[in-house]
């Protein structure tokens, strides 16, 4: 068993989401320090508001302001905050039923320790200094000892410049391991060798190997070195420059059946004008110093392969 390969893999993107009328009003309200609930047909007030009654599925849109003060309905002490959570210091997760609401809102409660938190305690919204129309406009909740406060003012501001969308950034960190078959393939590349795996049943050689024959559904284990030369089975001409890719357009991207392989892999074709690349062209890999895979493939100068030789690999 070769050493297990690992590499960091970060998946990160901003989700751009549009809002319906109810969510738009709610998040606009938060920006103006007003919390809005939505009234259901049976007279309950849901906070945070939704567009459909969760019991009857009736469409609802009757918005009413509720207080910035409320009562904790359940809580959990988080002694080790994680990335992205509302507070960087230990805090309580809380469900809070705001005064005037019949349901509870999830958020964080800033408290000195778990002994300072209990179900039934009174809390108040602490607004973020800068508010943009997002749930994080509520920085957190804080303990509150006074009377229920009236709903916030500023309702007039809600009609002006409503929030119609949010951008929700998401980032997840992984440590990617390619598994047994692909590790062997990558280890082979480090010695500039291309290693596939042969199916014990249909005898096809897969490259890069994934550890299974997709036709027969059986594990593949027999390693077979293929190439380095191969045949262009099909190709396309790329005319759009990819971001962060230092290759001039137009260039050719091709399927290449390496000699001895029963599956074409893909790579870029260089060393020949783009409009002279053709099916059957014989190519070989070009390695650059320190690279972990061929930079591109170039013509070998051999005569083109006969169509019958590669027609099964298209």
């Amino acid at each position: 068993m070769p050493e297990v390969l690992k590499a960091p893999l970060v998946v990160e993107f901003p989700f751009t989401r549009s809002l319906g009328p109810v969510q738009s009003a709610f998040l606009t309200g938060l920006r103006e320090r007003v919390v809005l609930g939505v009234r259901t047909g049976d007279g309950r007030t849901l906070v945070p508001p939704v567009e459909y009654d969760p019991v009857t599925a009736e469409e609802i849109h009757d918005l009413v302001p509720v207080a910035p003060t409320g009562t904790v309905t359940t809580w959990a002490w988080n002694h080790a905050p994680r990335r992205g959570q509302p507070l960087a210091t230990p805090f309580a997760w809380v469900l809070v039923r705001l005064d005037g609401a019949d349901t509870a809102l999830l958020h964080a409660l800033d408290a000195p320790g778990p002994d300072a938190v209990r179900t039934g305690m009174r809390v108040r919204i602490r607004w973020a200094a800068e508010r943009v129309g997002a749930i994080t406009d509520i920085a957190c909740f804080e303990p509150h000892t006074g009377e229920p406060e009236p709903p916030g003012g500023g309702l007039d501001a809600l009609a002006h410049d409503p929030v119609t969308g949010i951008v929700a950034p998401a980032r997840l960190d992984y440590t990617y391991s390619p598994g047994r078959a692909q590790s062997a393939y990558i280890a082979g590349l480090s010695a500039r060798r291309t290693v596939g795996e042969r199916c014990p049943s249909c005898r096809k050689v897969y490259v890069p190997p994934r550890g299974a024959c997709p036709t027969c559904g059986v594990p593949t284990a027999e390693r077979v070195e293929v190439g380095p030369r191969g045949t262009v089975t099909t190709f396309c001409i790329v005319n759009i420059k990819a971001k962060n890719l230092d290759i001039e357009v137009p260039y050719v991207y091709a399927h290449i059946a390496l000699d001895g392989a029963d599956l074409a892999l893909h790579g870029r074709i260089g060393g020949i004008p783009y409009d002279q690349v053709r099916m059957g062209l014989r190519v070989e890999p070009v390695w650059t110093e320190g690279a972990r895979h061929p930079d591109h493939y170039r013509p070998t100068g051999e005569p083109d392969a006969d169509y019958d030789v590669y027609k099964e690999l298209l």
Binding site: V4, K6, L9, V11, F15, R17, L19, Q23, L27, L46, V47, P48, V50, P54, V55, T73, T74, W75, A76, W77, N78, H79, R82, G84, Q85, W93, L95, R97, T103, A104, L105, L106, A108, P114, T119, A134, I135, I166, A168, A170, L172, D173, Y174, Y176, S177, P178, G179, R180, A181, Q182, R210, G211, A212, C213, P214, T215, C216, G217, V218, P219
Partner: protein, 356 residues
Amino acid sequence: MTREEPPGRRDVAVVAFAQTDVARTTDELSEVEMLMPVLHSVLERTGLKTADIDFTCSGSSDYLAGRAFSFTLALDGVGAWPPISESHVEMDGAWALYEAWTKLLTGDADTALVYSYGKSSPGSLRDVLTRQLDPYYVAPLWPDSVALAALQAQALIDAGDTDEPALAAIGARSRRTATLNSHAQLRGSVPQGDYAVRPLRTGDCPPVGDGAAAVVLAAGERARELCSRPAWIRGVDHRVEAHSLGVRDLTDSPSTRLAAQRAGAFDRPVDTAELHAPFSSQEVVLRKALRLDDSVRVNLSGGALAANPVMAAGLIRIGEAAARIHRGDSDRALAHATSGPCLQQNLVAVLEGEPR
């Protein structure tokens, strides 16, 4: 049975079940490499080959793999060469089994292979699972799966339904019974540990692990040919709670109760129950919703507190229940699967063996 069956409904059974050992990491294996021994094992038990299977359905999640369409790579393991009748759910394999069951009920297929897998080890599961939450009001706060379960546990404690020692006893019992389950990740005595998110301690939380499972379903006579004592599926139903946590009574699970009722669970007593309760507090909720008393053997496999491979743990509950019927250790068993925070979605299956 007093419940009326639709006329002419076919009998469908679980005829084979296999699962991997569940481990904290399986870096040396890709998903398909982890899955393949299980697929071959479950087929071997029936004598079927991949080409004999009429319908294949799988469950998994791209968010675990950190990659789009990740299930297509695992499909290599079943010889998915066209034409193949195949489907996938971005959920626990229990829901894939539901789809396969309905497919067999229509008569379009006589046999089905259902599998699911999850490798939690490449990422941080607590963070990954935040991405399934309401993206407008909840996900931007990044409340992790343990935190949300802890809110539910505190609600149960406040309601007088349980307390911390009782929760600890559930975890301890699960790991004790898991000593008989060689596939389980945590077996025997495990310290109750420090608070993960209070009031839940590490002992109240499921181990994070990688694993896979597969079952074969067959209809009517085909099931009898493939298995000496088929685990006949008498009913399956799945229901979902309101999306917003603050709308729900976290101490109850009406969706589980309704699913159980529709699956026929309350028509006659069950002798065995496999509950997918990743957190000790959730077993309290499920026992109440399913009206399980001490006469029912609950989670003899050790349940999710002993091994919780995400996306496979629910299918494993059905598989474990079926395997007990296959072996003659149970005559009527209930299996439950859950998905989402605080028992958001719940599936209940009722399985029966014929009189011996």
